[in-house]
């Protein structure tokens, strides 16, 4: 019994981390791009600032000179940024009930309800997951 209880306790303690964001933070995604492709960007993308579209365009034009690491990581990093941005739109669906009922907001202006959603009790697990994915929490 004691063992079963302790296993449950451990599960309960670790479950919040299991619900952590499925997306990468902007900082981590940007760091990955810089770490894997700094040399390639400096050498081949002169005058290109930190603009995901232009960097993608420049690096994909130069695939033959990219290191294997950069070739896989630049798409991974830029996709991660897109994924985190796209996660914002899922919040309106995942948190619809909470936005209207708990925060008296509108799902058309989700971002206005976020400060309320992150501080109110009774928010569904799905909604919390969606907010984590979007980087709101």
């Amino acid at each position: 019994m004691v063992r079963g209880g302790s296993i449950l306790l451990i599960l309960a303690l670790t479950s919040p981390s299991l619900a952590a964001a499925d997306t990468m933070s902007f900082g981590d995604a940007s760091a990955l791009l810089a770490k894997s492709c700094a040399a390639e960007i400096s050498a081949n993308c002169r005058g290109v600032s930190f603009d995901s579209n232009r960097l993608k365009e420049c690096l994909s034009r130069n695939t033959d000179v990219l290191s294997p690491q950069c070739a896989t990581d630049y798409l991974k990093s830029l996709d991660a940024i897109q994924k985190r941005i796209a996660a914002r739109t899922t919040v309106a669906n995942a948190c619809g009930r909470e936005i209207v009922k708990l925060c008296k907001g509108s799902t058309k202006e989700t971002s206005k309800s976020i400060p309320c959603l992150t501080t109110t009790r009774g928010v569904s697990r799905n909604c919390i997951q969606a907010m984590d994915d979007a980087g709101y929490r």
């Binding site: 902007f26 900082g27 995604a29 492709c37 700094a38 930190f50 914002r88 206005k112």
Partner: protein, 226 residues
């Protein structure tokens, strides 16, 4: 002069230096590593009241003052700040590396820009709007520095808006050149090249502005038809 100092005193100096270095291990590293998201958030969310800022007018003032050839011009360290209102607002300074004389952000600063974006989408900062402020130290021509700092502030704003899709309504940019220093006592210090993020307004106040400003456009349309 050095010879006059007794060896024992010199040792004391060394010990003091060693202690200072030991006690402040994080300080030298801070400028090089990207800031933590939560540090940016806690700093910038301490917003009280919105000042009356006219960013377009400030840009103009910076350009005009940087071009002034008056003989009564004070030395750099005695120039009065051109936008003193900004000094009272919550501010976070970040060292961003650019290509020399260009507004191109270097890869070693991508992470820092990403962290700024992470902070701006965090729930507690969502209600606010911000000003990205560029500065320069006193090297090169004063007028060029005013323009370069503006282009660099624009580049950070563009990265936040285009790459991380932060609403452009929430971010404006202003280059102060060498008309307002991060460290006024040391105008030549590279500290003055830092980018600052300043909280300038709470959006609930701003969101009412477009609503109030929306009537004019229909009024303009009939005027065009005439």
């Amino acid at each position: 002069m050095m010879r006059a100092v007794p060896p024992s005193l010199r040792n004391v100096g060394l010990v003091v230096c060693a202690w200072v270095l030991l006690l402040t291990p994080s300080l030298p590293a801070r400028g090089q590593t990207a800031p933590a998201r939560d540090d940016i958030v806690s700093q910038l969310s301490q917003f009280d009241t919105a000042p009356d800022l006219d960013i377009a007018a400030l840009k103009q003032q910076v350009l005009e003052r940087s071009r002034s050839r008056s003989r009564n011009e004070p030395p750099p360290e005695k120039r009065p700040p051109i936008a003193p209102d900004l000094l009272k607002l919550p501010t976070f300074s970040v060292a961003i590396t650019f290509d020399t004389d260009t507004p191109v952000v270097r890869p070693e600063s991508y992470q820092a820009v990403g962290r700024i974006a992470d902070a701006l989408v965090q729930a507690s900062l969502l209600p606010y709007s911000f000003l990205i402020v560029g500065h320069m130290e006193t090297t090169g021509r004063r007028e060029n520095n005013a323009m370069l700092s503006q282009r660099r502030a624009d580049a950070i704003r563009d990265a936040l808006v285009n790459t991380f899709k932060i609403s452009s309504k929430r971010i404006q940019s202003l280059g102060l050149g060498e008309e307002q220093f991060v460290d006024p006592a040391h105008p030549t210090s590279p500290v003055n090249e830092q980018i600052q993020i300043v909280t300038i307004a709470k959006q609930s106040e701003q969101s009412e502005q477009p609503a109030a400003a929306s009537p004019p456009p229909p009024a303009k349309k009939p005027a065009k038809k005439r």
